[in-house]
């Protein structure tokens, strides 16, 4: 059988905000660009982002990109790379204005400017009064952005491979990445897509935890592809638990609900955040609020029959504000809980939401790996952006409203660097057969028949292990046991089988390959977490309760080979301004 091959200048894997923003930049520059996505583009998980995108437009309150930078560095618990953070915060107003020009239906202020709301961890004057920096389209900002970007790509005639599943990167012996091997989910047929550059924009891996806000498709496919190609993953121990997932279910209730004035209460009706963050209160950083909720419940002040959650009270906002500014979360709350937030508070609990870690890149989106004495040597032809990447602007904890910003700024920056790369690399390198064959073997592996465990119970077990052994509060002992159980699970996955062996739209096979990807991401997360003996941002160790800048102001790098850990320094030097040195973090 001959393998179908297609050739493009630039290939993008993933059609969320990062992938589509990059694709648009490339298409507009008349590069031959293809986007591969396992779901139809507007079904990518960017669509579910609610609250908004941060940019210091100063439409509502005074603001500056420098304050935004300070907040982001502080929010990251000083683990973010300050050159990338400066770049992002400076670029933010420009990318938001571009979005508006692309047609995003932002909510508007009286004078017609883009509406901005308060979000957690935002301040004026480097840590003083609350800022209002989050640009919003009601509470459907991700939907508004993703659809507009897709629409602009249609106009620009970007080439889409819809419902194609990327199996693995093609990489030659010299280390150049030459595209991917994928398969058409509809026909089951494999295809090699050759490209001079490949951008991974496949999003996060929230499905490694049982209760999460993520789509079922957020299985860390790109991160796992990078690992298998020998690229380590950076800072995977930092997993954000969003303070307000619907208790027991996980659906997201945007931070914008608190930005509009909502607050959290315990079983006494007490606004407990006043004790944990006297200034910022309910708008402290997400890691701080999530821990506070977990502590309230642990100390017996939880709500409900099982005293296992807190309540988010929006009633005082009034029907008008809720229906105008938060219509989406009202709908979700009514659908999944039968609770109308106009009349009753919403039961919430911290829920796995976002991977701060990912594929290490520089601020041009180039994937960088340690080679001998250089901690950050670019992998030729390989780029990553968005939640799949770790640039690192979020460090140990991401601020709300910075993820939509990250995908736009670095999707765009990666595309600009790709255009430069294409000028110097005009020809395709020869296809690397061994690498293609390896990917095809991974696909064929699921044709195996006979006895074996099924995929779904294994997936459920994986998610339970991660929840029990690598949750909000962590200890060496509990995590070590988790690692042992994951090693066992890894072997069992190797022997698993699916029953459905048909070619046409075989979703069982897709799910099996997603499970393999989840496995690699879960292992990266727990091994990195076990390695980091301090508490910083979202990574909270009960056996190492303090932040330890002396030993741990550095990035973790997990490699698949032997589950090995390595480390590299944090880039504390911004591009043009003074560095923000680590300080005690209070809100």
């Amino acid at each position: 059988m001959t393998l179908t091959t297609r050739k493009f200048d630039a290939l993008i894997v993933g059609a969320g905000g990062a992938g589509l923003r990059a694709a648009l930049q490339l298409s507009n520059a008349e590069a031959r660009v293809a986007v591969v996505s396992k779901v139809f583009p507007t079904r990518s998980h960017t669509v579910a982002a609610q609250g908004g995108v941060n940019a210091a437009l100063a439409n509502v309150l005074p603001d500056s990109w420098h304050w935004h930078m300070f907040d982001t560095v502080k929010g990251s618990d000083y683990l973010g790379d300050q050159d990338a953070i400066e770049y992002m915060c400076r670029a933010a107003p420009k990318v938001v204005y571009e979005l508006e020009h692309f047609g995003v239906p932002f909510s508007r202020l009286e004078e017609g400017n883009i509406y901005q709301r308060a979000f957690g961890g935002q301040s004026q004057h480097f840590g003083k009064e609350q800022a209002a920096r989050t640009c919003a389209a009601a509470d459907r900002t991700g939907h508004a952005i993703l659809h507009s970007l897709y629409q602009q790509n249609l106009r620009a005639q970007t080439h889409f491979f819809d419902e194609y599943f990327a199996i693995d990167l093609i990489k030659d012996d010299a280390g150049h990445v030459l595209g991917v091997v994928a398969f058409d989910i509809l026909s089951g047929e494999p295809i090699a897509i050759e490209a001079k550059t490949t951008l991974i924009a496949t999003g996060g891996a929230g499905q490694i935890f049982r209760t999460n806000t993520n789509a079922l498709s957020n299985t860390g496919d790109g991160m796992a592809m990078a690992l298998r190609a020998g690229v380590p993953l950076e800072d995977m121990e930092f997993v954000q638990f969003h303070p307000t997932g619907i208790a027991g279910r996980g659906m997201l209730i945007t931070e914008g609900a608190r930005g509009e004035g909502g607050f959290l209460i315990n079983d006494q009706g007490e606004r407990f955040m006043e004790r944990y963050a006297p200034n910022a209160k309910d708008l402290a950083s997400r890691d701080v609020v999530s821990r506070a909720i977990a502590i309230e419940v642990r100390e017996g002040r939880g709500c409900g029959r099982n005293k296992d959650h807190a309540l988010l009270d929006l009633r005082h906002l009034g029907a008008d504000t809720i229906m105008k500014k938060l219509p989406g979360i009202r709908e979700v709350s009514m659908t999944f809980l039968g609770v109308d937030p106009i009349e009753a508070p919403i039961p919430i609990f911290p829920t796995c939401h976002y991977s701060m870690g990912g594929i290490p890149t520089n601020r041009d989106g180039q994937v960088v790996v340690p080679v001998k004495d250089t901690p950050e040597d670019p992998v030729p032809g390989l780029y990553a952006a968005g939640e799949a990447a770790c640039v690192s602007v979020h460090g140990a904890n991401r601020l709300g409203g910075n993820s939509l910003l990250d995908i736009l700024v670095f999707g765009r920056a990666a595309a600009n660097h790709i255009l430069d790369f294409l000028k110097d690399n005009r020809h395709h390198r020869p296809l690397h057969k061994e690498s293609v064959d390896r990917a095809l073997a991974r696909l064929a592996r699921w044709d195996r028949k006979g006895e074996g465990e099924a995929v779904e119970p294994l997936r459920r077990e994986l998610r339970k292990i991660m929840e029990d052994h690598c949750g909000v509060f962590r200890t060496a002992e509990v995590m070590q046991e988790g690692v042992t159980r994951l090693h066992d699970l890894r072997e069992r996955i190797d022997n698993a089988v699916i029953r459905d062996h048909s070619r046409t739209f075989n979703t069982a096979r897709v799910e099996a390959m997603e499970l393999e990807n989840l496995m690699d991401c879960a292992m990266a997360t727990i091994v990195s977490a076990l390695g980091r003996e301090e508490s910083r941002g979202a990574h909270s160790r009960m056996d190492f309760t303090d932040r330890d800048d002396e030993r741990w102001l550095r990035h973790s790098l997990y490699s698949l080979q032997d589950d090995a850990m390595d480390y590299k320094p944090v880039r504390t030097q911004p591009v043009t301004v003074e560095s923000f040195p680590p300080k005690e973090r209070v809100y």
Binding site: V39, F40, T42, R43, S44, H45, V47, A48, L57, V96, Y97, E100, H101, F102, G103, P105, F106, S107, R108, L109, E110, E111, G112, N113, I114, A137, R140, H143, A144, H147, S148, Q151, Q152, L154, R155, L186, A215, L216, S217, R249, M251, E331, V332, T335, F336, L337, A454, V455, E456, P457, I498, R499, D500, S502, R503, T504, F505, N506, T507, A508
Partner: protein, 233 residues
């Protein structure tokens, strides 16, 4: 809990058939949605095929025909459904396999509506202004998730899927016609002004009845007609 589900695998089946499934009562939890049940049924038989992703009604993947009405499985409470729950693929769209339909024509009609903002005036360095009142006109139009429930419930679209754009695409057309920032209103109306693209809508209103986001394509289509009539007089 009993289910009757449409099955068809083009590789092995000469014709589609309905298959009975049972979900044990011990697995049925309060507050469960239809998608939760389908995921459990897929554990019984991993060849049962359907699309799904976000699980809370924003990605639009899991549209299907549920007890005779189109809807999204992930936001359809099990307790509201009469058993046996009868699941079929969208009517009027070619079936690929089981509950998965070929949506190419649906996406084609979406593109035909040219659903992108056109504004060739010099770009300001900041945002283009839009009054809150003008922005309000987009509410009920921009929230579409392209699930296809509406077009797949529309007899006019079943009959003329190649020439009638269908409610989803027309909702998009309306979204840009109503946008104060868009400069292509004339061209948009011109393109819709034939016997089929728009005017095959007979006001049956199935689209509005089934929309899982509570949108009203029927009204949007009516509004386009009114604008068109105003323009011609």
């Amino acid at each position: 809990m009993e289910f009757s589900i449409y099955r068809f695998n083009p590789e092995t089946d000469s014709a589609p058939y309905m298959q009975d499934f049972t979900l044990g009562d011990d697995l049925v939890e309060p507050g469960m949605m239809l998608l939760d049940a389908l995921l459990l049924l897929k554990e019984q038989d991993d060849s049962l095929s359907f699309r799904r992703s976000c699980q809370h009604g924003v990605c639009g993947s899991d549209g299907m025909n549920i007890n005779g009405t189109n809807g999204l499985a992930c936001i359809m409470p099990l307790k509201d459904l009469k058993t046996p729950i009868v699941l079929r693929p969208f009517p009027g769209m070619p079936v690929i396999r089981d509950l998965i339909v070929d949506m190419d024509n649906f996406y084609h009609q979406y593109r035909e509506a040219e659903p992108w903002l056109v504004n060739d005036s010099p770009e300001p360095e900041v945002e283009r202004l839009q009054s809150p009142e003008d922005r309000d006109k987009l509410d009920g139009l921009y929230e579409c998730i392209l699930c296809g429930c509406c077009s797949a419930a529309c007899p006019s679209y079943w009959w003329n899927p190649d020439r009638f754009l269908g409610p989803a695409a027309l909702l998009q057309a309306a979204r840009f016609i109503q946008d104060s920032r868009d400069e292509a209103t004339e061209e948009r109306l011109e393109r819709l002004d034939d016997a089929y693209s728009l005017y095959r809508c007979h006001g049956i209103m199935n689209c509005t009845q089934v929309c899982p986001k509570g949108l009203n394509p029927s009204k949007a289509i009516g509004d386009i007609r009114r604008i068109m009539i105003k323009r011609s007089v």
